[in-house]
Amino acid sequence: MIDSTSASRAEQITVQHSQPTNPTVQMAGITVEFPGVKALDGVDFRLFPGEVHALMGENGAGKSTLIKALTGVNPIAAGTISVNGSSMRFNGPADAREHGISTVYQEVNLCTNLTVAENIMLGSEPRRFGGLDWRTMRRQAKVYLERMGLDIDPSSSLGSHSLAVQQLVAISRAMVVDAKVLILDEPTSSLDTDEVEQLFTVMRQLRDDGVAILFVSHFLDQIYAIADRITVLRNGQLVQERMKDQLPQRELVSLMIAGTSDAQVSRANERVAVTERAADAKPLLQAVGLGRKGAVQPFNLDLYPGEVIGLAGLLGSGRTELARLLYGADKADVGSIKLAGEPVKLRTPRQALGRKIAYTSEDRKGEGVIGDLTVAENIILGLQAARGWIRPLPTVKATQVVDAYIKALGVRPANPNALLKNLSGGNQQKVLLARWLATAPKLLLLDEPTRGIDIGAKTEIMNLVSELAEQGMSVVFISAELEEVLRLSDRIVVMRDHEKVAEIASTPEVDVPRLIEIIATGEEDK
């Protein structure tokens, strides 16, 4: 019964968009269920050879789940998958890979302690005399790296390279098996513009060779630069599949975020920068000559209540390191911090927490999410840590706090007992924000809070930051997206090569090109 309905659905689609070639991958009526969550509900999806197909949707729309359903990571409750016309079900990424479907995930899933060559060739190592042929391995790896335009030593350890390079290595690895289908799940979220262009060159080349590419990204410009076809998901359901040329950007966004009104989007745009503070305003936190060897050169920084400070700079410019010093996540080896005029020592996160400072890490998976605990436990963790283990948060209070934040931040699913690992990236981020907001911080350090999450959640988080600042919270906002920094910040601190090079008011004259110029030259003067 199920089979016949999905078949008829598939026919409908084929009628709607007649296509000369047969799809390499055809998924029909895919349903995936997690405990307490219906992640996908009867979704159809096709991948044609020689096409880049962008999968779009908000966080929790089901993009990652659909990919995992295809590669067999998530079991499918209903629906069919056919590859090259024959029905298939994979046992996992390795199985899918053997059948020519390679996946590169959002977070780099490689072994950082192995060499670049080992990472690329793992599973397809050249052998000789029963052992590994290291020389051939390095040579072959070099060829794949060169195809990606990467000039790095194959025998260097992967961990010694930047996240961006690691991402490109992951893609090189995906190409080793002569993939017919390449799945790229947000490969660009940690790449800079040049690297993205480099990636696109490779993607176009592969597409012209007849590879079917599934591409997930939150950057609309990138979608329109590379995609041929776009599928939009929302709340686990298929909204539409269309050729890119027939889907204007504005319409795409509205398809993705039906329900988010224009008013909400524009409010974030309209945040008026407070460039002049009251004469008697006293800084909440003053960093004087604060620095750490190899991380950040000594810097001075004053943070005022009700102000948003944007930290701009390239990846690895010291943005994160600066925030970590203010939180005590790393120990400063020079300089001092004054809080409300009084010198304080912030050597551990616990001390910072006690001083009402909160920090969300850019590494959500590694340093934020506690996946096997529930949403509720993750939210109250900060509060509970501040109280110590001996005084548990009263159940009534905990329920109140959890319910209030789930509602206020729109966490989906709104189930406090769901395990956090079963939520989408954007919703995990909201839960982490809730953890910190519940501690009622006076200073909130947000490191890339909007990375890898969709427009809807981004807007929500940015509106929230504005509101918090209006209520008198001091906020440090770090983002690779300069528009976001400009839109939210009252003042902007520019980091370059581990050094604070400029601090400017976010006046209307300051725009993205101006910021880029400062980041590039390190000079404030025009």
């Binding site: 019964m1 199920i2 089979d3 079991p75 409750a77 209903a78 939180y327 996540a329 551990t348 996160p349 616990r350 910072a352 927490l353 006690g354 920090y359 890490s361 590694g366 340093e367 934020g368 999410v369 506690i370 996946g371 096997d372 605990l373 436990e377 963790l381 900060g382 509970q384 840590a385 501040a386 109280r387 110590g388 283990w389 001996i390 005084r391 548990p392 948060l393 953890r435």
Partner: protein
């Protein structure tokens, strides 16, 4: 019905009941409890009493494993604790007095806290891998016990001290009352305070927990101290049972039984979520196995094999992958039924 089947303690409980059933078939009166001199006697009471030391050690082990750690030194601590207590009694002027017994207990437990703190220091403060850090005391510990006893098996007489193992209160063995009482108190403290959640958080993601303000170092340190203390208590019950300080054999391989009990109870060695009730059932299974071997008349030659088969069966039935396989078989059947 399906709910019960899916509960993660379903299979361990089934294994325990199956073992008891097998014993009952062989000897129908085995589970009977009789009253003698106001004390309860019978195989179930024996199981409770014999499981006491292992229960205490496994309790500490569960908490250590929850923090992604492991404590291999528990057996050595058991030996040291017994050696110290009995040597203390042997060297005192009045071995038979209650005061001496209490003194022996306090000194032994005090030393075990220090030993636990040594483990905790190595793991939490110096960041040495738990398996390596506790291996030090595992090997050195028995040497220390030998030094304390001068390499001899010290035999002493102290009526108050031996009550720890052979005494009865309210008709129940003192050893069991201590072990299960301590177990209940610790379980209550862990789940009623935030300790359990914080331990799990540290076990699941140590760095995220640290950044969330959790005092992970202190927590991990405390857990090793507690594990040392509980192992020391287990050592006292061991020693009171034989009244002979055997540095070589007291608590030998108890670390392996304890780890086994924790795993059977459904706590992952990868750390994080832990299940104290599961550990208790694991301990009961292991103790009952020993009884079953005797009752069923299994030859000593195949005893280890028999134990291994039971353990493999339980762990396999609990494996999520195997369950997923069974689950998908069931689901497929269901879909076929719907389809037809």
């Amino acid at each position: 019905m399906t709910r019960i089947y899916k509960h993660r303690l379903f299979w361990p409980v089934v294994a325990l009941l199956a073992l008891l059933l097998a014993c009952t078939i062989k000897r129908p009166d085995i589970l009977g409890i009789s009253v003698l001199d106001g004390h309860l006697f019978g195989a179930p009471i024996d199981i409770l009493r014999n499981s006491s030391p292992l229960l205490l050690v496994s309790l500490g082990m569960t908490l250590v494993i929850a923090t992604r750690g492991i404590d291999l030194s528990v057996g050595a601590i058991v030996a040291i604790s017994g050696a110290v207590a009995l040597t203390f009694i042997a060297s005192s002027s009045n071995p038979g007095s209650v005061g001496t017994a209490i003194g022996a207990i306090v000194v032994a437990l005090g030393l075990c806290v220090i030993l636990g703190a040594f483990n905790g220091l190595l793991v939490a403060n110096f960041g040495i891998q738990p398996i390596v850090a506790t291996l030090i005391l595992m090997t050195a510990g028995r040497g220390v016990a030998m030094l304390i006893t001068n390499g001899q098996i010290t035999t002493v007489n102290s009526a108050p001290f031996s009550k720890l193992a052979s005494g009865f209160v309210l008709g129940l063995p003192v050893a069991a009352l201590i072990a299960y009482g301590v177990f209940a108190v610790v379980a209550l403290v862990v789940r009623r305070t935030a300790l359990g959640m914080l331990l799990e958080a540290v076990g699941i993601n140590p760095e995220a927990s640290r950044l969330a303000g959790v005092k992970s170092k202190t927590l991990v340190f405390t857990v090793y101290v507690l594990c040392g203390l509980l192992s020391g208590l287990a050592g006292l019950i061991f020693a009171a049972n034989t009244m002979a300080a055997d540095a070589n054999n007291a608590g030998l391989f108890i670390e392996l039984d304890a780890i086994l009990a924790v795993v059977i109870g459904g706590t992952s060695l990868a750390g994080g979520k832990f299940n104290l009730a599961g550990t208790m059932i694991g301990v009961l299974i292991i103790t009952t196995l020993t009884l079953a071997v005797t009752v069923l008349g299994i030859s000593p030659l195949v005893t280890s094999l028999f134990k291994a088969i039971v353990v493999i069966a339980v762990t396999l039935m609990m494996s999520t992958r195997l369950r997923a396989m069974f689950g998908s078989l069931r689901d497929r059947r269901r879909y076929q039924e719907v389809g037809a």
